[in-house]
């Protein structure tokens, strides 16, 4: 990387307090884990201030200083809490070794425009730290679940064996339970049977509705639109109760078709919204041109309009699929035990027996969702690329 700005070493009065502040934060984490937050903050700040001062003033060699910090922190971790703390300590050591010299040498200014004021530099980095923290808080609950699903015990607990990375603390038995237990397999099968059909219905009806509603001559467009997307706005429990009584009267309650229809109704608003958004950019003269050349409306739709609005249809379909696949409230009302889906099974499992099989299923679902989203995104990029190459 090219340095934009000439850099110079910063004064002690700048980098030592900043490192101390970071040390206080790290001390807060360590202290809280050991039931004394305040002591952790004070010790962390003092210790890091001393280290920062010492390594920059006494040890001239940066590499040596960073290795020394790394080793000291790792060792301190090992003494305090064994193998798992060693990893944490080593991570802290790596970070602080880098951080101290990053500040000390003034490298933090390296890639920023030279005319920025100190306030702007501060904001530049605070913004990144805030974004990082938000990301951290969003992602941690999901990540924590994954190692727990390999637990050898039947509780949501990090056992001492797990924390010491001993193989006997880990096991695949919860995955085995998921793949061999008839209840879970039935639930998986039901989900797989319900979601695609519900998605197909949502996409067909939602796309048709969006195309119809985008015609300027349709009367009461706003009202119809509001009614069609109401399942997204009305609280789910109210839709569910309403569907329960209605479906009971007409004999759909507790049937496969009933659940599929209910989920299709929930998925339609997503399709309408995404397809309507893509239709905004659709040039209507293309359909007129097709008609002019003798294509009937159906051919026009499939040959001209559909390929152009396909990205909207696909993302709508994805939302509709996930809505059906994740849904627990409506299926509890509209379904019966014969239509027990994965979320339903997870719900009863959490209530009755806190078994890590739920975590194993959650991990599998997370992996599947990531794979699904990646595939769709790659397909979308590919079609964009292809379209960019084709004329017009």
């Amino acid at each position: 990387m090219v340095a934009l700005t000439p850099i110079s070493r910063t004064p002690v009065s700048f980098y030592v307090p900043v490192v101390a502040a970071a040390g206080a934060f790290a001390g807060l984490l360590v202290g809280t884990a050991r039931d004394n937050s305040l002591l952790g903050v004070v010790l962390g700040a003092l210790l890091l201030a001393a280290i920062a001062f010492a390594v920059t003033q006494l040890i001239e060699n940066e590499r040596l200083a960073r290795w020394a910090i790394f080793a000291v922190f790792a060792l301190a971790g090992l003494v305090m809490g064994g193998l798992p703390a060693l990893v944490v300590g080593a991570a802290f050591g790596l970070f602080f070794g880098w951080f101290i010299f990053w500040l000390f040498e003034g490298r933090y200014r390296e890639r920023l425009a030279p005319y920025l004021t100190p306030g702007q530099v501060l904001w530049h980095y605070s913004f990144r730290v805030i974004c990082g923290m938000i990301f951290f808080f969003l992602i941690t609950p999901i990540v924590v679940v994954m190692p727990l699903s390999f637990n050898a015990e039947d509780f949501f607990t990090f056992t001492p064996e797990m924390l010491q990375f001993k193989p006997e603390g880990y096991s695949l038995k919860h995955y085995e339970d998921f793949f061999t237990n008839a209840d879970w397999q039935q639930a998986l099968w039901n989900s797989v049977r319900i979601a695609p059909v519900a998605t197909l219905l949502s996409v067909s009806f939602g796309t048709l509705a969006a195309i119809g509603l985008s015609q300027p001559h349709v009367p009461f467009r706003q009202v119809i639109m509001a009614i069609l997307i109401s399942p997204m706005i009305v609280p789910l429990i109210i839709s569910a109760a309403g569907m329960y009584f209605f479906y009971s009267r007409i004999g759909l309650q507790g049937t496969y078709l009933g659940v599929v229809l209910a989920h299709a109704a929930l998925g339609i608003p997503f399709v309408i919204i995404t397809v309507t958004a893509t239709l905004v950019g659709f040039d209507r003269s293309l359909t007129r041109a097709a008609a002019n050349m003798g294509a009937n409306p159906v051919t026009t739709f499939f040959k001209v309009q559909m390929p152009l609005i396909l990205p909207g249809v696909i993302s709508g379909a994805l939302f509709a699929f996930i809505t059906s696949f994740d849904e627990v409230v409506v299926v509890l009302f509209v379904g019966s035990a014969g239509q027990k889906t994965l979320p339903w099974q997870m719900f009863t499992g959490l209530r009755e027996q806190i078994s890590p099989t739920i975590l194993a299923v959650a991990t599998i679902l997370v992996v599947v969702s990531i794979a699904l989203l990646t595939t769709v995104e790659m397909l979308r990029r590919r079609s964009e690329r292809l379209r960019g190459m084709s004329p017009g």
């Binding site: 209840d183 009971s248 009267r249 507790g254 496969y256 009933g258 499939f302 019966s336 009755e352």
Partner: protein, 368 residues
């Protein structure tokens, strides 16, 4: 392209329609509602599997017992009873019976007599707490504690929950007044015989809440019985109340460092109710199942899978070993004479009269 899509679409629709028609209430199916987890598994092993083998009827398990009352009301309202048999706690059975949502049963006519000829109603005895209720098991709410966190003197008395000096640390208690109020009064020096007389009065309720107040900031309140074993396994709490079967499973099946206390265990019953208004043919099938599933041998069989006591007196001598671990199950039953030296039996009449009032006070106190 359009033809393929249309073909695919219509094929999918035809498939849905066909499978929708194939479902519905088929002749050989019965939906039985229960609590899920290990409890449903014990019923599956002891009742459902042998019954399905004998008769060829398919039993579908619905794990909706926690919301049974609300769902039965909704079914009644919608005129669409989809359940055939429901497993509920005794208190819910009384409520459903009063509302006319459960069918009244003549126990001697519907249920099998004991092998020695004792009539069903005598064999079940006191556990028939309502005309609609067909008892199955006796369970108790009791205390479990971490053996490694209580020092050299493990608790031997229920009042250990209130003893923060000897047993410092968090406790887990049920987020409803039942059992908590009784224990609080007992540990505040009220004689056992007077507990409910005291609890009837305004001052008595205040007194129980005041006693609970001494440990309020050290208490984790649970709503699902699975929480206490989880908290104990984590070491988050030193002791906590839960159902005795949960503690047995955590100790004997999972090998956790947990001990349990039988002192002043709160006994309660769980059993079947038949929803009111079933059509003739389904009712006949349910009654046939009930006669089989509540006979002396079947109730004793269930105890091989879970440590809840059979509700029939004649089943007790037949209780054998745990199906997988080979442990003698009789000493783990709440009704075993050694365990039942001091028990509280849930007073349904009292709680029917005072439940709403005390519940409201308890929840308000929790929110303070």
């Amino acid at each position: 392209m359009n033809r393929t899509t249309a073909l695919l679409g219509s094929a999918a629709l035809a498939l849905t329609a066909a499978s929708a028609l194939a479902e519905g209430h088929m002749a050989g199916e019965m939906t039985i509602v229960s609590w899920g987890g290990a409890y449903s598994a014990s019923q599956q092993n002891a009742y459902h599997t042998p019954y399905m083998e004998n008769t060829g009827i398919t039993i579908i398990n619905d794990e909706s017992s926690p919301e049974a009352v609300a769902k039965l009301r909704a079914m009644e309202e919608a005129g669409n009873i989809t359940w055939d048999l429901v497993d509920v706690e005794a208190a819910d059975a009384i409520r459903l019976c009063d509302e006319g949502l459960a069918m009244e049963i003549d126990h001697d006519e519907v249920l099998a007599a004991a092998p020695d000829g004792t009539s069903a109603s005598d064999d079940f005895g006191d556990s028939i707490i309502s005309d609609c209720f067909i008892p199955q098991i006796v369970f108790s709410t009791t205390m479990g504690y971490r053996t490694d966190l209580v020092g050299d003197t493990p608790p031997s008395n229920i009042c250990a929950i209130f003893d923060l000096e000897t047993y410092p640390g968090k406790r887990a208690l049920n987020k409803r007044p039942l059992a908590n109020m009784e224990w609080a009064l007992l540990c505040d020096g009220v004689e056992k015989a007077d507990v409910y007389d005291v609890l009837e009065t305004e001052e008595g309720q205040e007194r129980a809440l005041a006693k609970l107040g001494t440990i309020k900031d050290q208490t984790v309140w649970w709503t699902a019985a699975a929480e206490t074993p989880q908290l104990l396994a984590d070491g988050e709490v030193v002791m906590g109340s839960t159902y005795n079967g949960r503690l047995f499973s955590a100790i004997a099946e999972q090998g956790q460092p947990i001990g349990m206390l039988w002192d002043e265990q709160m006994l309660d019953f769980d059993g079947w109710i038949v929803p009111a208004g079933l059509p003739e043919d389904r009712l006949a099938r349910v009654l046939d199942y009930l006669k089989f599933a509540t006979d002396t041998q079947r109730l004793a069989d269930q105890a091989a899978y879970i440590s809840y006591g059979p509700a029939r007196a004649s089943s007790a001598p037949l209780v054998g070993q745990h199906a997988e671990l080979g442990i003698e199950m009789a000493p783990h039953m709440p009704t075993d004479p050694n365990n039942a030296q001091s028990v509280l039996v849930t007073q349904y009449d009292f709680w029917a009269d005072y439940r709403d009032d005390i519940d409201a006070k308890f929840q308000a106190w929790l929110a303070q």
